[in-house]
């Protein structure tokens, strides 16, 4: 008998169907992957399981008994525990307090017990977290780990994970997958939403594919391969986007060494502090040349965010120089960065900095240049036609799905990310700084973005590509720098960047650097 049965689940938002007639059985003791394109309805379905959304029709049964819909408390009592795509943490609480909030009960706050349980579990999972730190001061990866701990500590019997690994390092991700297998082995039921097919094959027993709100197939893992899944997700008759690996072929990587190339970005002896005034970036120097992609690898929280913000003009460096096309970028003047230096920036947190969630798609697309022609017309009036045209193009180019004419808050996570990318890539930048740009994107969109990035380099632009995913970096970057403890511990050419050497550099073990400023000085 199935542990969990979904029967005829349907959900509309403002009359637009997000899910229709989803019927599905899930066996106990299995990891069940749920796949689908951005906006396919995965999160909606998971939110229905966790009681956050009330389905318009259909029932959820646990061991044959109906779970009353639309009540998170009841769902928790039934053993459901969900890791949300957009984290549900209290920013001003510490990690331990967030865990205590979920575990609850007792006379005191339960923070001490929560912290102990959280630490023990983190050790098991190989997660590095500082549970005494406030969430708002944590790097995204650590927040994600807290969100995971919060649910697992509670001892959920049905664990629902909505894209839990999008900001984890490969090591953490694989350790999480192993943990999920152990949970399944212990008889728990795991639902895993992910865009990473590798994770599906590593952890799942069965896989369900959603397409535009409908269930297309549920298959045992043995019965599918990557291409098959991709085809199921996209559906027949739709032009499948090129496979990820094709990206690299769009623009052959320039030969190593850039003796004749023109540097677009020059960073010299840059020191940047974090919000608390502690040094986060220490003496970083590097160059990116025309047509080049420099990847930055490393466990997040090692200064990548501060580096990106400093380069984007959002954070005033303590010292050091940043030059774009040979012109010094004045610190703390984001407008200059946008208008003069043509630096595009995809921030790591689309909800905090990337989007105005309460504005519609077209308004989010003019966010960067609303105060300049052509968007700004006479008397400061905004050209709405132009904004609308931008939206139309973005929707077409990036295949954005959902109600783009309403507040973008309602869009699925992946589709929100596509809007950010559409805006940042749409201005022919000279330099693109991208932090985790494919976070939450589906397979096809990821490939598309990577192709776009490489196409950008064909115009002579330079790209700084920050990611915790080594595979992705190896696909797009010409060289990969590793950041550890605020320093660049080494820069490797793509071909040298094997897991071992990268891992060593991440550990902070310095190695003779191939830093090109050093080369230039010689």
């Amino acid at each position: 008998m199935p542990r969990l049965t979904l029967d005829g689940i349907a959900k509309n938002f403002g009359g637009v169907p997000a899910l229709a007639d989803v019927t599905l059985d899930i066996a106990p003791g299995t990891v069940h992957a749920v796949l689908g394109e951005n906006g396919a309805g995965k999160s909606t379905l998971m939110n229905i399981l966790s009681g956050l959304y009330r389905p318009d029709a259909g029932t959820v049964r646990l061991d044959g008994r109906v779970v009353p819909p639309g009540d998170p408390k009841l769902a928790l009592d039934h053993g459901f525990g969900m890791i949300h795509q957009h984290l549900t943490l209290v920013d001003r609480f510490t990690g331990a307090e967030n865990i205590a909030l979920a575990t609850g009960g007792g006379v005191g706050t339960g923070v001490i017990a929560a912290a102990a349980a959280g630490r023990a579990l983190a050790r098991d999972l190989g997660f590095s977290v500082d549970l005494d730190r406030r969430v708002e001061e944590m790097p995204p990866g650590m927040r994600q780990r807290v969100e995971i701990l919060k649910v697992l500590v509670r001892g959920a019997t049905i664990v629902v994970l909505d894209e839990p690994t999008s900001v984890l390092t490969p090591a953490e991700a694989s350790s999480l997958m192993a943990a999920l297998r152990r949970l399944a082995a212990a008889g728990r039921t795991v639902l895993l939403v992910t865009h990473k097919l590798a994770e599906v094959f590593a952890a799942a027993d069965a896989v369900t594919v959603l397409r535009r709100g409908r269930l297309v197939a549920t298959l045992p893992i043995a019965a599918v391969d990557a291409d098959g899944l991709a085809a199921l997700m996209v559906g027949p008759g739709e032009a499948a986007m090129p496979a990820p690996a094709a990206g690299a072929e769009v623009m052959p990587a320039p030969a190593a060494g850039h003796d004749n190339a023109v540097p677009v970005l020059e960073v010299a002896a840059l020191d940047v502090d974090d919000d608390a005034g502690r040094p986060a970036v220490r003496g970083v120097s590097f160059r990116i040349h025309e047509g080049e992609v420099l990847g930055i690898a490393g466990v997040d929280g090692n200064g990548q965010a501060e580096l990106a913000e400093a380069l984007a003009g959002l954070r005033r460096p303590r010292s050091g120089d940043v030059l774009v096309d040979g012109v010094t970028v004045e610190p703390g003047r984001p407008r200059q960065r946008l208008a003069r230096h043509r630096v595009a920036y995809v921030p790591r947190d689309r909800h905090h900095a990337g989007l105005v969630l309460d504005m519609d798609g077209s308004r989010n697309l003019i966010l960067r240049d609303v105060d300049r022609p052509p968007v700004r017309r006479r008397f400061g009036i905004i050209d709405r036609v132009l904004a609308a045209a931008r939206l139309t193009r973005a929707v077409a180019d990036f295949d954005v799905r959902g109600a783009v004419n309403g507040p973008v808050r309602a869009l699925s996570g992946g589709n929100q990310q596509k809007l950010v990318l559409a805006r940042e890539l749409g201005h022919q930048p000279r330099l693109l700084i991208a932090e985790q740009p494919t976070k939450g994107l589906d397979v096809a969109a990821t490939a598309f973005v990577q192709r776009k990035v490489l196409a950008l380099t064909a115009t002579g632009a330079a790209v700084l590509y920050i990611s915790t995913e080594l595979d992705e970096l190896r696909m797009v970057a010409d060289r990969i720098a590793v950041m550890s403890g605020g320093r660049i511990t080494g820069i490797l050419s793509r071909d040298d960047a094997d897991l071992q050497s990268l891992g060593r550099l991440m550990g902070g073990i310095d190695r003779p650097s191939t830093d090109d400023t050093a080369g230039a000085a010689a």
Binding site: S50, L52, Y53, R54, G70, P72, K73, L76, D77, M82, H84, H86, T88, L89, V90, D91, R92, F93, E97, N98, A100, L101, A102, G104, G105, G106, V107, G108, T109, G110, V111, L357, R409, A410
Partner: protein, 314 residues
């Protein structure tokens, strides 16, 4: 005037005045802290205070003792808080507008019922209030002794309420959950907490505490109810919550600041008859603003402050 700050009797007196002016504010402001920490901007404290004052007067007269007054005052204030909560938490009414409406309602109902139940002569409506209780020995401590240890139970209740509220917020699961509701209702919701119940509870508690603040005026200070007797104290309590950075201790300190500057200005007036009295009247407000300017660091309201929470909106 130097006399005012050097003469021990005058100082003791100043201290006592400060305390008495602050106590009603302290109750209301602590209520405000609970409400605000749960994400509810509640400017209906004034309405709850006046209803509390009326309830205290009615209860004490009907029940024949101050104890009944305390209960009735808290209930009356809490009722308005609950009404405000239903309008804002369930119907989603804007908290500021609903607060203004609730204030009108509170002022109206208190006066309306007072007219129904009492005559227009003060002496005929005198309320059996609390008598001062003197603790021998302690009451003789210079300056603070008399004010703190020869006083009525409501003052002690206020003094106890402050650390108690701080303790609840900082050291209990209830406090943790309440703060979570105010910071990130979505996080609280997925943790299985009923955001609506917590918020409704917080504003009801807030109303009750504000009601107690009103009750203090009647039961410990003037022993009668009069229309409009709160005279804007509820708004000062709202200011104290923010001035005190949403913490019970801070809010209480802010109330003391208001009380102190009012106590001082009432005394400074006689010695400086050539200075326009308006300057003295605004002293508490100026002191509060200057204190804010002097404090270092930014104060942050709870993140979801004033926001209506709806489960299915993202």
């Amino acid at each position: 005037m130097i006399d005012l700050f050097t003469n021990p009797t005058a100082l003791a007196d100043l201290f006592a005045t400060m305390l008495r002016l602050s106590v009603p504010l302290v109750f209301a402001a602590i209520g405000g802290v609970f409400s605000e920490r749960a994400g509810m901007v509640n400017i209906s404290l004034e309405g709850s205070m006046i209803l509390g004052a009326f309830g205290a007067s009615w209860g004490a007269i009907a029940g024949g003792s101050a104890g009944f007054g305390v209960v009735a005052g808290a209930l009356a204030g809490g009722l308005l808080g609950a009404g405000f909560g239903i309008a804002t938490v369930y119907a989603g009414a804007n908290q500021i507008v609903a607060g203004i409406g609730a204030n009108l309602l509170g002022l109206g109902v208190a006066a309306f019922l007072h007219r129904l139940t009492a005559t227009g002569r003060a002496a005929e409506n005198r309320v059996p209030g609390f008598a001062d209780i003197t603790i021998p020995g302690l009451a003789d401590i210079p300056i603070v002794g008399k004010a703190l240890f020869a006083t009525d139970p409501m003052t002690w209740a206020a003094i106890l309420a402050v650390p108690l509220a701080a303790l609840v917020l900082a050291r209990t699961g209830l406090g943790l959950r309440l703060k979570a509701v105010g910071e990130n209702p979505r996080a609280a919701d997925v943790a299985g907490l009923s955001v609506r119940l917590y918020r409704l509870g917080a504003v009801t508690l807030c109303g009750m505490l504000a009601g107690l603040g009103g009750a203090v005026l009647v039961l410990s200070q003037v022993f009668l109810f009069t229309e409009g007797m709160t005279a804007g104290k509820g708004f000062i309590a709202v200011a104290a919550v923010i001035l005190g950075r949403w913490s019970p201790l801070g809010a209480a300190a802010a109330c003391l600041l208001f009380g102190l500057s009012d106590a001082i200005q009432l005394r400074l007036q006689f010695a400086n008859t050539d200075v326009p009295y308006q300057l003295f009247v605004v002293l508490p407000y100026l002191a509060a603003i200057l204190t804010l300017v002097g404090l270092v660091g930014r104060s942050r309201a709870p993140q979801a402050s004033g926001q209506f929470y709806r489960r299915e909106s993202r």
